[in-house]
């Protein structure tokens, strides 16, 4: 469990032009959860995600990862092995010249024996569907594949939580869909907690729970459906209102009795078909 307790973070701390990036945020993330942290540019979501991995330390409050305080220097090893991190730019987070070596980079930093590393590589390649690219140079892969390599290279460290800081923002829609697929599999089959930081509303559909950040404050914590139905709130936090939401609203206003909020076009379509068939039977 990741516990965030009254955490604040300032840029240019204790100088005249101090900027509050995260202010007094508290929440908990359970093991096996799929959480999306949603927020506009400069909302403090990236800063928050970096604090969870002990890359930066909170100025106020503290963060406990499975009971280890991230601010405690001697516990950094435990924090970073449990919390994997994937960054935005696929090009600048790949260290090695072949996919295999890249996947081995994390565990070899931990001094794990070679046989175990090779086992983990097999496992991670299988999960991310990259088996054919084991000996390929990352520079020959597409953006989506590179980002998958980044996810896989975090997997070989066997983390309980994976934080992804806008992993899809530099990808085309196809690559984006592939990454989300991979994350879904990891969450469902391997029970790894996924913490996806994003600006894109439609990526929030994936989540069990959405946290919305606005100007450094945590302004929403709940099921995506709840947030989804509140268009005014979304606009207030400079988030895009999804097309499905607009269609749903209009249908409801014109008297169609939709049972629940549908998140994807498929589920909305099947809902409409269901209602239509019901009507025909009558």
């Amino acid at each position: 469990m990741i516990e965030v307790k009254n955490v604040s973070y300032f840029y240019n701390h204790k100088t005249d032009d101090e900027i509050k990036a995260v202010s007094d945020v508290s929440f908990k993330i359970e093991e096996g959860e799929f959480v999306v942290i949603l927020g506009h540019n400069g909302s403090g979501k990236s800063t928050l995600s970096r604090m969870l991995n002990a890359l930066i330390f909170p100025h106020e409050g503290n963060i406990l990862v499975d009971g280890f305080d991230t601010s405690d220097e001697s516990k950094i090893y435990d924090v970073r092995t449990n919390v994997g991190m994937v960054f935005q730019n696929p090009d600048s987070q790949i260290v090695c010249s072949t996919v295999e070596e890249e996947l081995a980079f994390g565990p070899s930093n931990l001094g794990i024996p070679r046989d175990e590393i090779l086992k983990r590589i097999d496992f991670a390649l299988k999960l991310t569907d990259l088996e054919d690219y084991r000996f390929t140079s990352p520079s020959r892969l597409s953006g989506g594949q590179k980002q998958k390599v980044a996810v896989a290279s975090v997997l070989t460290m066997k983390p309980k939580y994976i934080i992804l800081d806008e992993p899809t923002s530099m990808l085309d829609p196809y690559g984006r869909e592939k990454i989300l697929d991979t994350l879904r599999t990891l969450n469902k089959e391997e029970k790894i907690s996924i913490i996806l930081v994003t600006q894109l509303m439609r990526e929030a559909f994936e989540a069990d729970r959405v946290l919305v950040m606005n100007k450094g404050n945590l302004v929403f914590d709940g099921k995506p459906q709840k947030l989804f139905s509140n268009r005014d709130k979304l606009k207030k936090y400079s988030l895009d209102v999804p097309t499905m939401g607009i269609i749903f609203d209009r249908l409801k206003k014109s008297g169609v009795k939709l049972s629940e909020i549908s998140m994807t076009s498929e589920s909305l379509a099947s809902e409409i078909i269901r209602l239509y068939q019901k009507k025909c039977r009558k």
Partner: protein, 296 residues
Amino acid sequence: MNFLSNITIGQYAPGDSFVHKMDPRFKTLISGAIIIQCFLLDKWFLLSVPFIFLILVAFLTKISFNYIMKGLKAVLPFIFITFFFNCILTSGHPIFSYIFPNEFSFCLFPDLTSPVVPVYDKFMITVTHEGIEFGFFMALRLLIIVLATSLFTLTTSPMEITDALEDLMKWGKVIKIPVHEMAMMMSIAIRFIPTLIEHLEKIVKAQLSRGAEFENKSIIKKAKSFVPVLIPLFVNAFRTADELAVAMEARCYGLTENRTKLREMKTTWRDFASCSVIIILFAVLNYFQFWVLKGI
């Protein structure tokens, strides 16, 4: 503009020949030894032995002759220039001489017992017997150095070279040389060559689309026109380095002393066999050089 196709990094040609399969550490040592050896020999016919040996090795690598020649092409002019200047600037017995304004002489087999003609004696050009011999000797020496190093890089991947150097420099840790860190820097540099080329291409295209001119005849203008390309490239490289450092830190780099090595270097019978061949070859060469032909 396509930069990627013009650059062959380290010119590594993958394969599974005898030479490819050798331990990179042994390959490093052997090619170093060949280069040192060819500075110890001072007779061209002795030097031709390691040259023929390298040609045989080239056949062993199963890399096509043309591909090897492509790598040598760049240094051929230097070899010719070396040969040419040694021919005309060595004192000895002239084969061909031209004395200003119109005096020629030509003799294919000059009398080697006659007195030596110094080069700078008169205003003349002489090609001496000794000059040709010495020029040929120097050219052969250069050719051996280039051939040895290019056969090494052709059969050893950059990563293998890095590993080999790290392993061979292990003793450096005793006197506080950060061997591992240097090897890491080298491998990251190799890894980022294609990424930087990609950046470069993007920037060039962006500048072209704004009307920048790169096809300029004047060298100074051409150099100047690359300033708006290099500056963003550098800024980009620093940003990438910064992000990479954070990404490496997030994956626990530097938290433990003993990193596991994924790639293992194995010493096999191939290495011992080639080592013995080299030792025997060098022993014979040095025997001739320092005992049989001593003082000649």
